[in-house]
Symmetry: C2
Subunit: 391 residues, 2 copies
């Protein structure tokens, strides 16, 4: 079998939302379809991928660097030992050839989208849902029947006061979520405190609320905020400072005992290693959140997990950012801690399959759809196929 | 005054050379020209910039993210206190608006090229060479009349044995260089040892030879190589391991006493802070080498220097990668340790003004050309203007 075409586009993820750092009005993402001449159920197998959310698309990078390397590679050189399927790890190495080390941003999300499409193909040709392949190949056959999910919501939008925030949180509860996340750090502390207290009123307890500062705080601000929220007993305190400020995290944990979460803006195993070595995080209580679709894909994530394990971090402490089906497959098949979710936000790219129920904060996986399962989200498929000019 | 147009192109830096990590056959760089309606000597002021070498161009990123932000900003909002010149720091903040923290790669070199053009404009409108502006504004008026430079050469090319390497090194000596650098790490240790010994024969002493592994080694390999070269007393041992593997550097200095250099593949002050905090480097003997044109420009470099100073690192320990005139201006005006140089390699983008003499390893600055001085390199100007379709 061989790849017959690589389509890609930069598409808008426009939204009126804002976090403490940026507005999402002009946000874009990479969308990719990789076509093959393998046939399943009478149709050529096509793999789909996209770059999650929060970082912009990389127009031209796939066209000028990554797709040409795949086209130039002999098709046989990309196959696994069966000779009838792509080997995602070999494809990844081919895509990354002639790339210098360091500088893990931008290209990591272009490759994240491409790698998602390759794994989608791989699982479709194997006739298995991706989570099952991951379970069998990398997890001794174990998997989770249900996965912890939480909505990454509570964004700042113009005119949204505590009442509207409560309304949003009530909506999540009605959908079946238990832990919900909200943004903090963009307004004065007293105002954020009122917002958090309002949210907790709806969610029943501080342990059902996570807060996300999106890297906004200086060390002093992070400590001050930590002291203010300590009595609330929150689920976690996310990205207090700059994602690369390991020193800040190491200092913050001296005065903040509750769980801390970070890592969504680290895009390689090298960066993750540094966080785990130097960031002072505690493998028993804290969470790390790299997003496979932004960080060179599932292929690199396997390296991230392996390296983290050597540093004493079990897979259960990983809670990937992004709210996409790739992360959900990985959480189930590799038994991660869970997965973020974006009901309604970033639609149709955010969110899981349409028929997956959420109950008491967990989702159950669809059992039989081969691949990542994007076909179970018809709105997403229609949008991607339209953007990629697939008839 | 205002910006009237922003032109940019991705241009080939094609070369037959290779280092221990990549081949440069398909290397590209960003080239930028920012036109203004300010007039000097009867001509509109145009600023030029490019992204050094070693990382690829970012087609589309300037077009879709950075140039639109500058176009949308009110022209007055970009001016300095004179009202007649651009404020490079404000321009930089405008370009970076709505960019998430973390992920410092790719965009950092697109912005590096843009920032170079803005500083070129700023100095041209001020009627001063850039190094003098830097000296006056950020260095209390002090500057260096001559700057240490060394050729970043000794690449692996097909069929190049120790004799050809010696020929190359002899050429550098004839041009006036004293310290010369060569690549290592792509061949077995014994072969590299023979290459280094051959180079030292020409250069007279180990202290005139620096070696660059381009991030190729594992920790064990880095230590083994360090032990092998220790008796040679080299000028420095550059980028032994992955640029983000701070732990590797911290371990290596336990067994390698000679100077170590690294940092060309770190592209932000956050990453540099981590290197200086966690990398075990010694501020008395080691060198750090971030490249302003790859790392968000001179504007970010000023932050890098300020943060490094807080961590006990004087400016003299900075030896920027890149071999371009921006780094040379910075080395003189901010009194850095020196600047890399690429005589012949990456031409016409590499190299300094045509009429600058090199003597005993130092270059003297041209005194009077306003701006960065690219006009003193006619071949470079012709190439950039052609690529940017400037008549």
């Amino acid at each position: 079998m061989k790849i017959t075409s690589i389509r890609h586009a930069s598409v808008p993820l426009a939204s009126q939302i804002a976090n403490a750092f940026i507005s999402f009005e002009t946000m874009t993402t990479n969308v990719v379809a990789v076509e093959t001449d393998a046939v399943r159920e009478g149709e050529p197998v096509i793999g789909y991928g996209f770059s999650s959310n929060g970082r912009y698309a990389q127009p031209g990078m796939i066209a000028e660097r990554f797709a040409p390397r795949l086209r130039q590679a002999g098709p046989k050189s990309l196959l696994d030992e069966t000779g009838e399927n792509l080997d995602p790890l070999t494809v990844w190495r081919t895509v990354m050839s002639n790339e210098k080390p360091g500088g893990h941003g931008e290209r990591s999300s272009a490759i994240g989208a491409l790698d998602m499409a390759i794994w989608d193909i791989h699982a479709k040709i194997a006739g298995q849902p991706l989570w099952r392949i991951l379970s069998q190949r990398y997890n001794g056959g174990a998997f989770d029947e249900k996965v912890l999910v939480y909505p990454g919501g509570g964004y700042y939008t113009p005119g949204k006061g505590p009442e509207k925030l409560q309304e949003e949180m009530r909506g999540y509860r009605e959908q079946g979520y238990k832990i919900c996340k909200m943004k903090v750090g963009a307004v004065p502390l007293a105002e954020d405190m009122a917002r958090m207290e309002a949210a907790i009123e709806v969610l029943g307890a501080g342990e059902n609320l996570a807060v996300d500062a999106n890297g906004r705080f200086t060390l002093d601000e992070a400590i001050r905020f930590g002291k203010a929220i300590a009595p609330l007993g929150l689920a976690w305190y996310e990205e207090p400072g700059d994602p690369l400020d390991y020193h800040l995290n190491a200092e913050l944990v001296q005065s903040y005992d509750g769980p801390i979460a970070t890592g969504e803006n680290l895009f390689s195993h090298q960066d993750m290693n540094n966080l785990l070595r130097f960031g002072g995080l505690r493998a028993r209580t804290d969470w790390v959140q790299p997003d496979p679709a932004l960080a060179y894909g599932l292929t690199e994530y396997l390296v991230i997990l392996e390296e983290a394990s050597k540093l004493g971090w079990p897979r259960r402490r990983f809670l990937p950012h992004g709210g996409h089906q790739l992360a959900l497959n990985m959480a189930a098949g590799l038994q991660l801690g869970g997965s973020e979710s974006y009901p309604g936000v970033f639609a149709p790219y955010g969110g899981f399959a349409d028929d997956i129920p959420i109950a008491d904060g967990y989702v159950t996986l669809p059992a039989d759809q081969p691949g990542i399962g994007m076909e179970l989200k018809p709105e997403l498929m229609d949008e991607m196929r339209k953007q990629l000019e697939l008839s």
